[in-house]
């Protein structure tokens, strides 16, 4: 189905978020259509993670609205937002280090909806990430960086997301693993899951994105078609200051 025909899954309108009295987001508006891969890029401190945390309910927006499938979610507690199908894979993965891989995955399927399809989801997840199945009885804290990232994404998938939000999945990974991660993201999207991606690796993320937003100092300064932005000189300037 062509992009313009799809429905809007997530819509942020004029979202501002504060940490105490520090304003981290200023009037951020963005829209994500069903089935898309959307990227948010920008240098560190620009507000990318803050955006995800505001969507997830970990932070409360000081003004503005967030709609998911037409429903207002900006005032819901985090666990209800997960139940609706908005799942975040946090930066630094935040696995449960003293639990096994399998236990981590089971915890991913904590919400009532997710629990029902648990066995089925496990199969899907094992197929996508065979290394996770191999290590399923190992303690999560003992996995390598790349394996942990796969597990973190797998864990997120167990929650049966409609929208999967990934915060810097390629962070700290060797180039080969980075390729694998992005392949996995593409495959997840091919399954019908909408993806919101925050990435430092501009090339990879823009190459696979339908749309992208550039954030600077908490503000959206540029938006457009993913691959198109690769040629945009403003992007280079935002990252390298040239």
């Amino acid at each position: 189905m062509p992009i313009w025909g799809r429905s809007i899954l997530l819509k942020l309108e004029n979202i501002s978020t504060h940490y105490g009295d520090v304003q981290a987001l200023r009037n951020v508006s963005l829209g994500i259509k069903e089935g898309q891969i959307v990227s948010i890029i920008g240098s560190n401190g620009a507000g990318k993670t803050t955006t995800l945390n505001t969507i997830s309910g970990v932070l409360r927006a000081s003004s503005g609205t967030i709609e998911f499938l037409g429903r207002r979610i900006e005032n819901l507690p985090p666990h209800q937002i997960v139940d609706l199908g908005v799942v975040q894979i946090p930066e630094a993965r935040l696995l449960f280090p003293y639990m096994t891989v399998l236990e981590n995955l089971e915890l991913g399927a904590y919400t009532p909806k997710a629990r029902k399809g648990k066995e089925e989801n496990l199969k899907v997840v094992f197929r996508l990430f065979p290394v996770v199945e191999e290590r399923k009885t190992q303690l999560a804290g003992t996995l390598s960086g790349g394996e942990q990232q796969m597990l973190a994404i797998a864990r997120g998938l167990m929650a049966r997301p409609k929208l999967l939000m990934l915060d810097e999945p390629s962070l700290g990974l060797a180039p080969l693993l980075v390729k694998e991660v992005f392949e996995a993201v593409k495959e997840i999207n091919a399954h019908g899951i909408t993806v919101l991606l925050i990435e430092q690796n501009v090339f990879h993320s823009l190459s696979i994105s339908d749309e992208a937003y550039v954030l600077e100092n908490g503000r959206v300064v540029l938006e457009g078609e993913g691959k198109g932005l690769l040629d945009n000189p403003q992007v280079k300037e935002a990252y390298l200051g040239i």
């Binding site: 090339f203 390298l240 200051g241």
Partner: protein, 610 residues
């Protein structure tokens, strides 16, 4: 005839409310003991002074330094038992016994203080409880020494040298004297370098260390002073009641009541403990008499409820609440003068650092004889992760060296290795020709003229802007007046002078970043490490701070800056080094770096330029 024995200034000061109010209070206290005609009230007054003294002593370590001791009864008991045993067994005057008790308490505190201060707050509290309990058991069961649970009775032989009197009035004045002494000590400390250091380490221990505060030593000194007075109070108690037993002088409830007085009165303030004593002691006596008569325990129920409610809803205590209207109230009283405007000093070169040379402004002209700072093959692992791998670089005097790299590249780790928060696994660090590898704790690095700021700003929230900077200034100035002058100059330099008396917590983020800068500047660094100073600021604020950084560099201070905002670091830096995955992948001028393929790869991704 003009008054020649009092200066004009002193005479006029006497009429300002800031002076005559406390003076009036003092006179009131001095007169109080002789007012009552009733032994009940005489006793009450003695108890108020007694508890005030104890609470003020506890406040030194619990309020100022923020170390929650729930075992102060240990030292109270040591004081009581030492003087009593020395008197009963060796007929040593309790006055001397009091000094012996205080001395013993100090020795004990020195022994257990250092290891216990390493513990986190909850565990520190637990350790102090345990320690006091051990002493109680020892006192209970070492009958040979202490007569155990039976306790010790002091025969009443009222003579001055026996520290016993017929009338209650001398006791009242002794207790008052003790309380006033501790309050005086608290007041002197509060306005001294030591006091600033205590509060700073309570607010943020790491930030304090980075400003040259010897946190461990300060905590210990606070504890020593506190237990000294607590033990003296113990002797007083023994001499007043003439009976002590382990359950009374080594009592856990006692340890809990002490902090309560300080909390209700106002933790960490000078006058708080007195307020607490004046309110809670009569309340306690009243409750005990009224409710306790109805049924045992009822008074403590009320007490406990007061504690819970006060801590949840009024954590700053009465003094904290008073503070908000005390100043305006003072101004309305007769004799009040408007506070003097802060004199703006002329913006002259800020630093008089011994090695700075104003003529020498362009570091690239200088021959590289020996660099100001050199790191060689630094390595740091965390578990299996190599955070910093074989990183070497030099910093030339007077330059601004930028440090960039993607998230997780190891930049802040490098800072921590230099400033004493972490030790390198291997490698060398040299500053001004002196070996500085693995120098710890951080205050030592600050003393050597290396300063730093933190990525997430860490102001001392309960101190004013001026006081924050003074903590830094105290690393070079010993006296409060000097520190204040120095701090004022710094605040003028960075443009925060008008906020001098605002609490740090009330500043905007841009001003907090400036404050962090100013605080570090006050330590007169020759090398200043800035960690993401620009992050989170809007364009105007960014420009302002860049201006300040340039001005700092013009003063001759060498700068080493971590930054993500590329525009900022490209304009500021003379040279830049790039870290990625813990390794140095590039070094050169901003122009060179922005063309470096490896650097572009690291930030934008390998295939970007393809």
């Amino acid at each position: 005839m003009k008054m020649s024995f009092i200066s004009r200034k002193t005479a006029s000061n006497l009429f300002r409310p800031k002076f005559y109010l406390p003076l009036a209070l003092l006179l009131f206290l001095l007169v109080l003991p002789i007012l009552p005609r009733n032994p009940f009230y005489e006793d009450l007054i003695i108890m108020i002074f007694f508890w005030g003294a104890l609470a003020a002593a506890w406040n030194l370590v619990g309020g100022f330094a923020g170390q929650i001791s729930l075992g102060h009864t240990a030292f109270f008991g040591i004081g009581a038992y030492t003087s009593t045993l020395l008197y009963l067994k060796f007929a040593l005057s309790p006055w001397l016994g009091m000094l012996a008790g205080a001395g013993l308490a100090v020795l004990v505190a020195m022994g257990i203080g250092s290891p216990c201060f390493r513990l986190k707050s909850h565990f520190f509290a637990l350790a102090t409880i345990a320690f006091a309990e051990v002493l109680r058991h020892v006192a209970s069961y070492w009958r040979g020494l202490t007569q155990g649970g039976v306790g010790l009775l002091i025969p009443f032989k009222p003579r001055i040298e026996n520290f016993m009197f017929h009338s209650k009035i001398p006791y009242a004045y002794i207790a008052l004297g003790l309380m006033l002494l501790i309050i005086l000590v608290s007041y002197i400390i509060r306005n001294s370098r030591f006091g600033f250091y205590l509060i700073s380490l309570r607010e943020d221990q790491d930030a304090a260390e980075s400003l040259g505060v010897k946190t461990s030593r300060c905590k210990l000194i606070a504890l020593i002073i506190s237990v000294l007075f607590t033990a003296i109070a113990g002797t007083f108690y023994a001499q007043y009641l003439l009976f002590i037993d382990p359950d009374t002088v080594f009592s856990l409830p006692f340890s809990v009541e002490l902090p309560l007085l300080a909390i209700i009165g106002g933790l960490g303030t000078v006058i708080g403990p007195i307020i607490g004593a004046f309110i809670l002691t009569p309340l306690d006596v009243l409750l005990r008499g009224w409710l306790g008569a109805i049924s045992a325990g009822l008074n403590f129920i009320v007490y406990g409820t007061v504690l819970v409610v006060a801590v949840i809803y009024f954590p700053r205590g009465i003094a904290g609440w008073l503070r908000t209207w005390y100043e305006p109230f003072l101004r309305r009283l007769p004799g009040a003068k408007l506070s003097l405007a802060i004199e703006k000093t002329v913006s002259s070169p800020l630093l008089t650092s011994e090695t700075s040379d104003p003529e020498d402004s362009d570091p690239e002209d200088e021959e590289i004889k020996s660099p100001l700072f050199e790191a060689q093959s630094l390595n740091k692992h965390f578990g299996g992760l190599a955070a910093v791998k074989d990183v070497s670089f030099q910093i030339r005097k007077g330059e601004i060296l930028g440090l960039i790299g993607p998230n997780g590249a190891g930049k802040t780790t490098v800072f921590n290795l230099i400033t004493g928060f972490l030790s390198p696994d291997s490698g060398k660090i040299e500053f001004k020709g002196e070996a500085m590898t693995g120098v710890k704790p951080p205050h030592k690095v600050c003393i050597k003229h290396i300063g730093r700021t933190f990525q997430l700003v860490r102001p001392f929230n309960n101190m004013t802007v001026l006081e924050n900077v003074m903590v830094g200034a105290f690393s070079r100035a010993k006296r409060t007046k000097e520190a204040r002058e120095e701090a004022t100059k710094v605040l003028d330099f960075i443009g925060l002078l008008e906020h001098s008396h605002s609490l740090a917590s009330s500043l905007t983020i841009a001003d907090r970043k400036k404050l962090e800068l100013g605080r570090a500047l006050a330590t007169r660094p020759e090398l200043l490490l800035l960690d993401e100073v620009v992050a989170g600021l809007n364009p105007r604020e960014t420009e302002a701070i860049i201006g300040i950084i340039k001005a700092i560099s013009n003063q001759g201070i060498t700068l080493f800056i971590i930054e993500h905002v590329m525009k900022a670091i490209m304009t500021l830096s003379h040279r830049i080094i790039v870290l990625h995955h813990g390794e140095k992948i590039g070094e050169g001028t901003p122009a060179e770096i922005s063309r470096d393929r490896r650097v572009i790869d690291a930030y934008l991704g390998e295939e970007y330029l393809a």
